[in-house]
Symmetry: C2
Subunit: 86 residues, 2 copies
Amino acid sequence: MKKNLVKNNIRQLRFMKHEMTQQQLADRVGVTRQTIVAIEKEKYSPSLELAFLIAQVFELPLEEIFSFHPQGTDSSQATSLEEEGK
Amino acid sequence: MKKNLVKNNIRQLRFMKHEMTQQQLADRVGVTRQTIVAIEKEKYSPSLELAFLIAQVFELPLEEIFSFHPQGTDSSQATSLEEEGK
DNA sequence: CTCCAATGTAAAAAATATTTGACACGAAGT
DNA sequence: ACTTCGTGTCAAATATTTTTTACATTGGAG
């Protein structure tokens, strides 16, 4: 029930900068190839740790690989104040 | 079985810059207070999405709030190997 | 002192991320 | 044709994150 709002360019980076296969990247960050596939296809977003590890491999700041795309105009909260008493 | 290698200064930020309570922060990023508590106490690291949301609230780059501290002698790769056969 | 807001803790359930073990497909290479 | 490699997919199992509920503590306000 949760959309994945995080995008990434792992696939491109894998080819461009550092020529490496899904399996190699997976090995370097210590996860399975499945995980890399899922993240590349954005089936879900990685854990913060994994994101850091990947950024480390590509020698790039995390935010240059992963980007957050809040809903349209994320207006969910901002205006809510009276959520006290339960 | 996985240590939390990610640290953060949410607590400090909550007080300093933007004066807000755990509950308020939780509301703004759309999670429960429990989650904030757990993350502040570093019982585990947040999802990448939540990390992005928090960074957004504090108007700071994600990496200024969360930092990655690889294990003491991690160095598991660096000296890449050829891992094939499976 | 009493009340309440803010924080800490805990445990079970729900949700999400990751693993494991297949199997399929196309592009090379032999 | 056969084999290998890189990729995509699927499903079930395990791990990790998040929710829900509930209760304890501390400090300030009244």
